[in-house]
Homo-oligomer: 206 residues x 4
DNA sequence: TATGAATGAGTCTTCATTCAT
DNA sequence: TATGAATGAAGACTCATTCAT
């Protein structure tokens, strides 16, 4: 009648995700993941062959999430400024759930050329798609004189910069275990979210 | 009659800086630094006792630079918007010289609690000073109805977000050896610099 | 209603024989045998307790075969030279069926003192028996002036040397999968067989 | 005033040679070699990078020795039968110095396809050269009616078989540490040497 | 100062073996 | 019997650090 791990593979995956995101690839030891998952370290290799392949599995998934969410956030049928506001907020809320994600991906992309190429290859089409839609929306509004001219690419980067950096800053300022129970942390993020929406809107409003 | 390194200590320091910034603490091997410096690896320990202490030496310096420059950039006697523009640009240009710096510092801060506390301890007074001056300037302009109300902290973070993220993005997109000879890279940064100034100005203009 | 292995134990034994002979004890992994046998690797231990005991089972059998056949080959009622010729050829043909056998046994005997002692203990009586009979036959012929004097032990070793080495050489020269379909391989062995008979006969003929 | 290893690299090489020859590649542990050499096991990797490359270094050298000696042994200006006798004896004496050599090389050649190809590639030209010279000598004698017809290849294999197998048998029968102080071992080899010369001579004499 | 050699504590990985089902 | 999961003891290899010269 033991409460055995229903799914060791999943347990490892989740532990690995936490540890890798916190420490990055090379600072993470396999035993650490095993301990975090409460399993024998040989299990990592039983299920995932090697540290690297376990990492890649997580990394690719996370990188995909990070980008995929961007599309999702801005893909609604709403008035332009409304869509923008909701999009920024949704993206921000997503990051709130996984505050370490952006830095994790960036760190490894920058550190490892192959990893970067791999990700870029997958990310480019998606990024192009996002840009295409944004450009369309911008053009429409712009032609109606509703907004100032702006490159879709710039808009995208502005949003990403402000949203992502909010969490990088939060991680750098607050304790690692920054959870929502921390009032200061919560307030900080709330303020940034509001600020980011305003800045972006202002940058477009005439 | 040899043309030996005039200053081995300095040579090591410079090599270590390059390698640590590129790969981060744990992915860097001492031998790698030694090779980059063209010296025997035992020299690292002769001069700096340990990998960690060599790293700290560089890390603290770089972290200080990163923040110190912020003060410097915004500490001029100029009309407000002028000062803002020049400040953002100066900061941006500084990062152009050392594009890997911000991510390097952030990466290690987030990875190591002690490092973070160490840095925060040193950075806080400086940060407070910057904020104080910004707040003063903002209040002045605001009371004269020249700008919208804004928290100094928010302004600071906005600038940092946009400027820093420009380089993170550039590193993620372009090749590691992104040098100024690369036209695309150069244009990308130029565009971001201009964009960042505009966004910030717009966020304050009434 | 499955068509399961009628006899798993036997299947494992056969697979183990193949793999052990090809790779030797320490280069062989249990999983490899299991795969070759098409069974779960836990079955090896279920049936044979350990890698070592499975190996020993095979090894002893093979070592016995190797020697046993020698007796059999020379134990017929025929004129001396006839008996010799047929014996050499029969022995040679036996090795053709199991070309890897001699090296396999020798390899492990030399590698492991205990194994060697074990084998020697079993082989000695058999070897003595063979020698006794040979000596008898030689003496008889010698006393009749039909052959030159020769130690039985030497005759035995000469035959073994020439026959066994033919296959060692073949393995070293031809591809591992040296099968009888390979013409060159076939011819090579055929030539050696003929050569060996002649040499031995010549060494005894007056 | 310590008696430090004059040459650690050499010490390791010698120890590795002994252990590898005795146990073969896969049954040999690096620590074992290190212990046999009386050095820290990290030294193996310091000097030779990996177990495999250390092995290859030894293996290639030994394989070359094994073949090279064959040429040397039969390359003298002497009457045919004299040359043959001296050649066989010289070869035999060489093996006496390194009794484990032939089996060591054969074992690994047979076990590893790549190793085999590597060796064959190097060995073939040498082998061809040996055969050419033998064939020449044989033809000359044969045309003068001094010897029976025989393929050079067969003669070569006969000698190799008898000489090499003497040591394989000795290793299988006597203790591993078979040294020349062991009278029985010594006598056994002496007898085999004499026997081998006779057999070969008889196989050619008319 | 400078160098090559040496050390020992890890770190990843493999593998025979056992266990629960 | 049969299977997939789990374990622990190695094993190869790395690397920061120290030492003798």
């Amino acid at each position: 009648m033991e409460l055995k791990q229903v799914n060791t593979e999943q347990t490892i995956l989740e532990a690995a995700e936490r540890v890798f995101i916190e420490k990055g690839y090379s600072a993470t030891r396999c035993v650490e993941i095993a301990e975090a998952a409460g399993v024998n370290h040989a299990m990592l290799h039983y299920y995932f062959r090697s540290k690297e392949s376990l990492f890649n599995r997580i990394f690719e998934q996370k990188a995909a999430q990070l980008l995929g969410f961007f599309v999702q956030a801005f893909d609604r049928e709403l008035p332009f400024f409304e869509k923008l506001k909701i999009g920024i907020e949704t993206h921000f809320d997503f990051l709130t759930q996984q505050p370490g994600l952006p830095l994790f991906v960036l760190r490894e992309i920058i550190q490892d050329k192959e990893r970067k190429d791999l990700i870029l290859q997958k990310a480019l089409p998606l990024g192009m798609e996002i840009l295409k839609r944004m450009r369309q929306a911008i053009n429409e509004e712009e032609s109606q004189g509703n907004i100032r001219p702006m490159q879709a690419q710039d808009l995208l980067l502005n949003i990403a910069s402000l949203n992502i950096f909010a969490f990088v800053a939060a991680q750098a300022i607050f304790d690692n275990q920054a959870d929502i129970t921390n009032e200061q942390y919560k307030n900080f993020l709330e303020a940034r979210k509001k600020n980011n929406v305003e800045i972006i809107i202002n940058s477009l409003k005439i």
